[in-house]
Symmetry: C2
Subunit: 432 residues, 2 copies
């Protein structure tokens, strides 16, 4: 038996690169057709996809039940099983979200610039789809539909790779989506789920499938994002950490500071936009530090502070150097008193992750300096860090938040899933 | 002696990673300061840099003479020595070009989008510098100044790596540029030339210097670009090939087709925007093919054609499959008769390099289809492919042409050397 298994594994390993390469070629061919689809056709397709998901409810929920049972047998955590589990309500929400993506403005075909040249040439910069988007995710099967719909709206094809736990559910959702595409006369291959659980498939996607993957979007925990960032040979839209700061300046309104700080930290502690560090200007520490720290403690947040912070409340424990580097994703915050805005910016540039950072101040010049000098994807003045979200930005939906500097930064919505080309209109011009 | 050399090489190899890492850290620090420089300060700096280059004329030309002498001794080609050689006229042009970059519009601080949210938040998308640009070049020492000036204009720092042949000249130019930066009160380290000829330095740059390089721009031949694209762990702005097509459709005006074709192929045959393949619609081959082929031949262009093309003139030699894949960069063209626009697009998508492709036609619907379906950085209608150039696009100057899909595509000017951040202006908003 072991010998037979080994031979079968080897045969599969041989077959995998060719299987994945074929998925890449089909995706590229589908992307070429998707790129030419009209806004109306894409929106009809998203509606038909939503209907197919609704109509496949029993099949999707039954496949999901098998995934959940397998995860339980494998001893997975309750948190993972919660992320994995679908029910009629969650599935209806997934279908509704797909339909909602159809109602967003078409990001393709926008004229981004128009240049009239002295020789009479008209040069247009026009938004076009990115091409093929690879999405690698873990336990949440809804990513298939959420990320897939955004890719389709922007005229792209998507290659989706589900985590082992969510494989059956994701496959059932992807099948419904391909049917919806076919219903609309669009290529079924514009949504493909990698049909194998073989982890080597991820490595092949990260290598770019012979130029057939234009960008990779990892959706999952730190381990996944780290692997993707380390191994990918194609561009990646991702963030590894959200080590976000709230800086309370001397000119901060205390009530506003308290409200925005509590929301930034405690509204949801597990999201990437949650604040992880509070910096307080020494100039207002005498009046602001104690009320802010007590508000956090009273709200159930553990506080780890420097000496000045520990002095204001015995419940504060000592912060170590490690704390300034830590994304807790929990009801814990690190607190430090700093010598004014320059020290605050220096702390953020040293320890931050270029995700989202906030200043609370009534001093507009100071706010302008913070917004200019803090090199993060999102910088806020007198607003919660938890606004770091494509929906809150008015993008309708997002495929993730990127902290890289290239192409997409901050929430990645349908616009960021496009690129551009130049169309040059002439009447016989030649270059001298 | 060999033993001593070996020991010294080993010591250098040990030191190189730390030396390069230090260059990266200095560049990152300089980039932070450059990002905050006003448009006026940057423009003054470019003027002072131009003056320092002019004032350093004797030193730069003397270092260049040493480079040229070494290249001659090493038996380098006449073409390389021409690219390498500076004279007073060329050096004056280099200084003038730096000053001209100062006169371009500042790409930093542009408001790219403004979103007013129902909760009163104002969200701005603002152009900010990319950060640190790594430029790797070969024999042309002017790249130091040309690429360096564009990086500075966009508020970036540059790490430049010269080819072994141009090392001394590039170092002298970089020194003059750093002095000009200091004259303007900007960080000297915003321009750094890698001070070693050790080829391992290139590998370290391609690995990103611990997150201190945001993008790499290779400037040189195919070998360099191939290595950079294969090894880089950071984004790259580049094109490997310019396999550009001119498609003459049935509705083409013959005179215009001839003029645009000759310019596309023969104006300069060595540039990446030069046409390499002519496709002629079978529907007009009877009237158009012979005159176009004869015009090429009479202009001194060798023609390699399919059977139909060979039939029109005995000077046409046979094209092989390889010819459709070839960027000649020479007075040679491949010619094929195709069955209409769909076949032309299919040929371009199969053999092209997504650089610049042209259609010649009086039929606007056909032109629109070509511009939509050909997936190249630049698509032209009734205009020469040799317009593929940042200057011709009105960008003032370019650091190169990119055929990738991310961030920059087509000519890479100062705008494409920026990225963006979101500034969120609130008055105490929290997320529900």
């Amino acid at each position: 038996m072991p010998v037979l298994n080994l031979r079968s594994d080897l045969a599969e390993a041989d077959a995998l690169p060719e299987q994945m390469a074929a998925i890449g070629r089909r995706a590229r061919a589908a992307a070429r057709r998707m790129a030419l689809a009209s806004a109306r056709t894409k929106d009809v397709a998203l509606k038909l996809i939503a209907e197919r998901i609704r109509a496949s409810r029993d099949e999707i929920l039954s496949e999901n039940a098998r995934d959940v049972a397998a995860a339980r047998s494998a001893g997975q955590t309750a948190a993972l099983i919660d992320r994995l589990t679908l029910d009629p309500g969650r599935l209806a929400a997934i279908a509704d979200a797909v339909e909602k993506v159809g109602s967003l403005a078409d990001p393709v075909g926008r004229q981004l610039a128009a240049i009239e040249r002295p020789n009479g040439l008209l040069i247009e910069r026009i938004a076009v789809p990115l091409g093929v988007v690879g999405v690698i995710f873990e336990a949440r099967p809804n990513v298939t539909a959420d990320a897939g719909a955004l890719c389709l709206k922007a005229g792209n094809a998507a290659i989706l790779r589900a985590g082992s736990d969510s494989h059956r559910s994701a496959m059932a959702i992807a099948k419904a989506m391909s049917r919806g595409l076919a219903d609309a006369g669009l290529p079924e291959d514009a949504i493909q789920l990698v049909p194998t659980r073989d982890r080597a498939a991820v490595g092949l996607m990260l290598a770019g499938l012979d130029g057939c993957v234009d960008v990779i979007v990892p959706r999952g925990g730190r381990g996944l994002v780290e692997r993707v960032q380390a191994e990918a040979r194609v561009p990646v839209f991702a963030h590894l950490d959200g080590i976000n700061h709230v800086y309370v300046a001397a000119a901060a309104d205390l009530d506003m500071a308290r409200t925005v700080l509590l929301n930034s930290k405690m509204r949801r502690t597990s999201v990437c936009g949650a604040a992880e560090t509070l910096l307080v200007d020494r100039a207002c520490a005498g009046t602001h530090l104690a009320p802010l720290v007590r508000a956090l403690l009273d709200a159930g947040c553990a506080v780890r502070g420097d000496a000045a912070t520990r002095a204001v409340d015995p419940r504060v424990t000592a912060a170590s150097e490690e704390d300034w580097h830590t994304e807790y994703l929990d009801a814990i915050i690190a607190v430090r008193v700093v010598d004014g805005i320059a020290a605050a910016i220096e702390h953020i540039e040293t320890y931050g992750s270029h995700h989202t950072d906030a200043i609370i101040t009534e001093n507009d010049a100071e706010a302008a300096r913070f917004l200019a000098e803090v090199d993060s994807a999102i910088v806020t003045h007198n607003a919660s860090t938890q606004f770091a979200d494509g929906g809150e930005f008015g993008f309708g939906a997002e495929i993730g938040i990127a902290t890289g500097r290239m192409h997409a930064r901050g929430p990645v919505g349908v616009e960021q899933l496009t690129t551009f080309k130049y169309r040059v209109h002439g009447n016989g011009q030649i270059r001298p």
